[in-house]
Every structure is written in C-alpha cells, then in structure tokens.
Amino acid sequence: MADQNSSLSHLDLETPEKPFLDANELVINMGPQHPATHGVLRVILRLDGEKVLGLECVIGYLHRGVEKIGEHRTYTMFNPYVDRMDYVAAVSNGLGYCETVEKLLNVEAPPRAQYVRVILTELNRIASHQLWLGTHALDIGAITPLFYTFRDREEILKIYEKYCGARLTTHAFRIGGLQYETYAGFEKDVTNFLDFFRPKIDEYEELLTTNRIWVERTKNVGNISAQDCIALGVTGPVLRASGVKWDLRKAQPYANYKNFDFDIPIGQNGDTYDRYLVRMGEMRQSVRIVQQAINGLPEGPIMAKVPKVMKPAVGEVYHSIEAPKGELGYFIVSDGSTQPYRVRVRPPSFVNLQALDVMCRGQLVADVIAVIGTLDIVLGEVDR
C-alpha cells in the first residue's frame, strides 16, 4: 500500500478511506520486487477495478551517485563508470562520454577509430534491442522469444569479449579513439554475425508480428501522441513510433554517421505495436550500417593526439548521441583541472519513464506491464 512518501504525490495516492467496492478504488504497489518492473522500479497504481486511474513511479532504489563520482575522478578514470549506467548498452554510454570529452578537448578521433566505434555501437544497439524484445515478450507472456534473442545476443557479446575482454561493461573506447586495435579476424567475425543475424530478425518477427494475441495485446496499448512525446521530452524509438522522424544520427550526425546510408523507421499510432515494429526496423538498419562500416573500414591510426594528463580549458559542453533508448546527453563543466567540475547525464530511460503515467491512464493493469516493457527502461540509467 502507499506509504508516507506518496502523500507528497500529486495523485493523492493514499489508501482510500472507503473499502474496496464502494469507491471501487484500490491502491496497489507494484515493485520494487516485482518480476515485470525490469529491476527495482516501484510503481504505485491507483486502480478502478482493473482500470488504471493514475500511477506514480518511485525511483532511486539503484542510485549510485554516478554523476557525483564523476566530480572526483579524472576524465579518463570516469570513463568506465558510465558503462554502469545503461549496462545493456554500455558501448553507447562510452561513446557518448568519449565524444563529449573530445568535444571539450577539441580533438577528433581518427577515421578508423570512428568506424570501429560505429560498428561496436550499432552492434550494441542490436544487443540492447534484443534484450528489450526478449523481456518485453516475456512480460506479455511469450516466453520463447527470450531464449532466441539471448542465443543471438551471445554472438555479439563474443565479439566484444574478443575485442576488449569484457562482455557487458566493455569500456571499449578511450577519449581520443580506441585503446585496442581490432583483433585479427574482427571483420570476418562481424560479417559472419551479420549473415547469421539477418534471418534471425525474420525469425523473431515470425514469432510475434502476426501473432494474433501479440497484436491484440499491443495494438492501441499505451498510445502517446507526438505532441505529448515532445512535451515530455521523450526520445528514441518511443518518439519515432509516434511519427516524429527524429534521430540524432541524422539530425546532428556524430561519429561519421553522415557517411552511412540508412533509414529511420517510424510508426504512426504511437502504440506498443508500433514501437515494437520501429525497434525491429532499427535492428535491420543497424545491420545495414555495420555492413557498410565493415566494408569501408579504413586503415590508419586509432588514437588521436591526446595529452596524458587531460586539462581541458575552462568551459562547458553538451553533447548527445542516439543511444538505443533515446537521446543520451552528457553535460560536462570543466574548471581547467584534471577532474570535471560537474557531470550531468541526460539519460533517455529517465526521461522516457515520465511518459508512463500518460501512456497508462485509462488502460488496464496488464497494459501497465506491457507499457513498462515497451518503454525499454534500464533502472541503472534511471537512477544513475
């Protein structure tokens, strides 16, 4: 039931005075220990029977003070910490951080490093979407896709392991480029994976896209309009599924993305089914990008000239990239010392989670599960 904290909430989520039937209102606490809240999200639901009247997210159960830690580490030392935010898309986090500091230092990574970054980041996007697909389907009750996606995600993790030794929190990039040259056979491994993976997307789609129950469970569930998305600052596949063609890789190209030819899949209705289709489309586009990058992988150095002790000039910088979950931005203030004065992260999951209330009002309890799944949140990133 609602506790003292929730009396602060705008929803007035106290235990209803009247018992169950007369008011027909029920306040239910979902999480933090709940199988479908993707970690330690706590949702307080106010229900009319099974209909959701409103909900309130209680977050912070996984707060580790990543931003504060950043103020006490040098720029290089802070790099591995960002991997721990969105741990299913650690490479994207690293890319965002490295690019931001590079912007602060006014250096640019050499082309080969850029290409390898694109390959690893897009592979990471695929891995993140696979994990999302598996868990989302599991929430809706289809247990089999989870195992299929994990089987295929394993291949990506193997490439990471071969490249940098770690599978999940990779710390793959360094400020100014890459620490490691690609291993022998990297291109072959990636190409093999792409050939292996293309039919697998069709396999996932075969399991779900035309499945009657899946369509019934996801069509017109958790609708959100483009206006609401923009007003709430929602980004990523959720925004694109509402029909807004906004992708930072196209809108403000970073890391060589302007050299690649790819489409931005968008939806129309902004419902759970469209978000599913958009993410499936993004996986196909990622495969295209990786294929182009691997074909055009240039030779050359992998590290720009970066001072051993980084002391960026006094100033501030904001840089954002298109992470698998949306716009991942870093705002770093430098006071000229070796440590940032302030690091602020704009995590896509945190901002997207704000839309949960809008998307769930008037829907049923079972839809809340579907919507939490479709938002693709990672609590490590929400709480930081």
């Binding site: 009247k18 018992p19 039937l21 007369d22």
Partner: protein, 105 residues
C-alpha cells in the same frame, strides 16, 4: 431400533424439516444480509429434499423436475439478491439488514 435402521421417506422429511427450521432461524435472527441469503438457500434446499424424497416414494420423477425448477429459482434469487446487496452496500457501506429501513435512496 428397527425403525432407525430402515430408512423411510419420513426420515428424509424430518431431515428436510430440520434444515428448514435452521434456515428459518437464520433468516429471522441474523443481521448480515449475506448470511440471511444463505439461510434462504438452506430453506430452498430443504424443500428440494422433500420433493426428491416424495418423488422416490411414489416412483415418478415429477418431484425431481420440480427440484430442478427450484434450483433455477434459487439461482435467480441469488443473482438478484446479491445484486441488491451490492447496490445497498455501495450506498450504505454496511451489510446489516437492520439498516435497510428505506424503500428508496
């Protein structure tokens, strides 16, 4: 003793009468509407028992057919009674039959 061991129609009738009395006591003395409704079910069941026992005595199935009708009635009665109960509870927030003292609210 012999009459105890030889089960006749009268045995069933006495059982039915006892159940009927229990139901009547429940209806007349309890305050909780749900239990009053259940007591009515007891009364209907006592009647059913008699009907089936008579049907056994005279070797026909008329009594059984009537028992089925009574069960139908009981279903209708339970549905309507519980519907009224829910409406009542929603307005008065109680299930006490003493407080049903208005014909309209």
């Amino acid at each position: 003793m012999q009459s105890m061991l030889h089960i006749t129609t009268l045995h069933y009738l006495v059982l039915g009468a006892a159940l009927f009395l229990l139901g009547v006591i429940g209806v007349l003395t309890r305050r909780n509407v749900v239990i009053v409704l259940m007591s009515i079910e007891l009364i209907l069941n006592a009647v059913n028992l008699n009907l089936v026992a008579f049907s056994r005595t005279w070797g026909g199935v008329h009594g059984q057919v009537f028992a089925i009708f009574v069960i139908t009635d009981a279903a209708a009665e339970a549905a309507v009674g519980l519907g009224i109960l829910i409406a009542f509870f929603r307005n008065k927030e109680t299930v006490n039959i003493d407080e049903v003292n208005l014909l309209k609210w």
